[in-house]
């Protein structure tokens, strides 16, 4: 822990924070929910549900990460911009992130009330951080090994994956600041599974403390991913326990933001780790003390 604070929207957090970012897909084909929140009313219900469950942030995405039908910028905007505006109207204090790599989409959602641009494809559109800076928004910088958006890793190797992650994220974070993003509104994410085989994602998890030590708020996106599935030889739908184990390890290392499908379980794991580390008092203690 390096003792810093960071800001998302109008809120400020310290380095001991462990925040839940709930995934809300405006897609018909995402790998985990398979279009469960494609319909707008279902997506609204999902937002209400995760807010009630204690999510700190929602991350709204209009394009699934995996390869598939090409979605143009206009189509992407059609999926997310009005939805962001409506979520903002219903939840004035909720932190809203949008998962996009396109600057034009970023601009539209920030105008609609979003707080965070989650650049899940590692700066593929260099204009995205400029937009974030212009709106005093937060931005998530991710490591993808330089791959093209919506491609799977194929025979990628690194001399040292963590070194590559550090080098890329420090460069992206520095560029974001130089483009006008506030220093305390830059978040870094090693991006498990993106440009990485499972060995890479496991090593990043094992050595996450090296990323925490960089002094930027650290986001991890572990939820039900292939590296969990391959670690346990389990298909999508049976990866929650593995996800939570990786969540606990990441929390112990000091990661700050957890992008997840399951809010309740994640919140419990994060609170449990925070209580063990001493960053949070237990909820209520009477055992042996009555």
């Amino acid at each position: 822990m390096t003792g810093f604070t960071f800001r998302l929207g109008s809120r400020s957090f310290d380095e001991r924070s462990r925040l839940v970012m709930a995934i809300v897909n405006r897609t018909p084909d995402s790998f985990y929910d398979k279009g469960a929140t494609w319909r707008e009313d279902a997506a609204f219900d999902r937002v209400r549900e995760v807010v009630a469950q204690g999510a700190d942030i929602v991350d709204i995405g209009g394009i699934k990460a995996a390869p598939g039908v090409e979605i143009g910028a206009d189509e992407e905007k059609g999926r997310v911009v009005d939805f962001v505006a409506a979520v903002r109207a219903e939840h004035p204090d909720l932190l809203i992130s949008v998962d996009t790599w396109r600057a034009s989409v970023g601009r539209a959602v920030l105008e609609a009330g979003a707080d965070i641009l989650n650049d899940a494809w590692g700066g593929a559109d260099p204009g995205l951080v400029e937009v974030a800076g212009e709106f005093d928004a937060a931005v998530v910088c991710t490591h993808t090994g330089g791959v093209t958006p919506r491609t799977r890793p194929h025979r990628i190797e690194y001399d040292d994956v963590v070194e590559s992650v550090v080098e890329s994220l420090v460069a992206q974070a520095g560029r974001a600041v130089s483009m006008g993003v506030a220093r305390d509104r830059v978040v870094i994410d090693p991006a498990h599974d993106f440009g990485k085989n499972s060995w890479h994602s496991l090593e990043v998890t094992r050595r996450l403390d090296e990323l925490v030590a960089l002094g930027w708020p650290l986001l991890v996106s572990l939820s039900n991913k292939d590296f969990v599935g391959e670690a346990l030889d389990l298909p999508v739908g049976e990866r929650l326990t593995g996800t939570l184990a990786a969540t606990a390890i990441s929390a112990w290392h000091g990661a700050h933001i957890y992008r997840v499908h399951e809010v309740v379980e994640t919140r419990q794991v994060l609170d449990m780790v925070s209580v063990i580390t001493g960053d949070l008092p237990p909820a209520r203690t009477a055992r042996g003390l009555a």
Partner: protein, 229 residues
């Protein structure tokens, strides 16, 4: 002279170092501090009577002493504090001697840290002992009947039975009984105490200002304020 007596539980869950995000027993701390603040309003001198820990496994001061100090600090009032420790398993005679020897200047508040049985329910720290209810009832009756001279009945509490029932407050309560007794030489706990109390015309000097009794964790907690005239 002793003008006020306050009785509070010696539960470590009242201590700041054991506070979770919400209080284990909502309102208990506030109740104790409220009663104590009222009692010490005109006091210059507080005498704390607490027991030593039954199972001391550290070099920390006794839990009862720490609870008392925490509650006193929470009143944000200024007074001299004197601590009197009594062994948790002291004999009745030892408690009486200690009580009679308590020095009290003008306007002294006696803060007695002690509670009843920790064996009141199956979930209680000491599990259920069916004898606990009767002993606790006797403690509560003695305190709530202080105006009728019943405090001396605390001297009837049997040390061995109380030890078995995990009555942590037995010794401090007996020190209290001796300290405020109108009889300069209270009798040993025996049948004649009962006989004498039964024929007592009451203790006009003592007023029960408040007496709250709870057992949220299977332990008898008494928060009481007695005023002596």
């Amino acid at each position: 002279m002793i003008t006020d007596v306050v009785i509070v539980p010696g539960a470590p869950l009242l201590l700041p170092e054991y506070q979770g995000r919400v209080a284990a027993v909502p309102g208990l701390l506030e109740s104790c501090v409220g009663v104590l603040s009222e009692a010490v309003g005109s006091s210059h001198h507080v005498v704390v009577v607490h027991a030593t820990d039954r199972e001391a496994r550290s070099t920390k001061p006794a839990i009862g002493l720490r609870v008392a100090d925490h509650l006193l600090a929470a009143t944000h009032q200024a007074f001299e504090v004197e601590h009197v420790a009594v062994a948790w398993d002291a004999s009745v005679q030892e408690c009486m001697t200690l009580g009679r020897e308590l020095k009290s200047g003008s306007g002294t508040t006696l803060l007695v840290v002690g509670d009843g049985s920790a064996r009141r329910t199956e979930k209680a720290p000491g599990h259920l002992d069916t004898r606990a209810a009767d002993v606790d009832d006797a403690i509560v009756a003695a305190i709530s009947g202080a105006a009728d001279g019943d405090l001396e009945r605390l001297l009837e509490l049997d040390p061995e039975v109380c030890a078995e029932l995990l009555v942590a407050g037995r010794a401090p309560l007996q020190v209290l009984a001796a300290a405020v007794s109108s009889d300069p030489t209270p009798a040993l706990a025996s049948a004649d105490v009962v006989a004498r109390a039964a024929t007592s015309a009451g203790d006009a000097r003592c007023e029960v200002v408040s007496c709250e009794v709870t057992d949220p964790c299977g332990v008898l907690y008494v928060v009481a304020h007695l005023r002596l005239h």
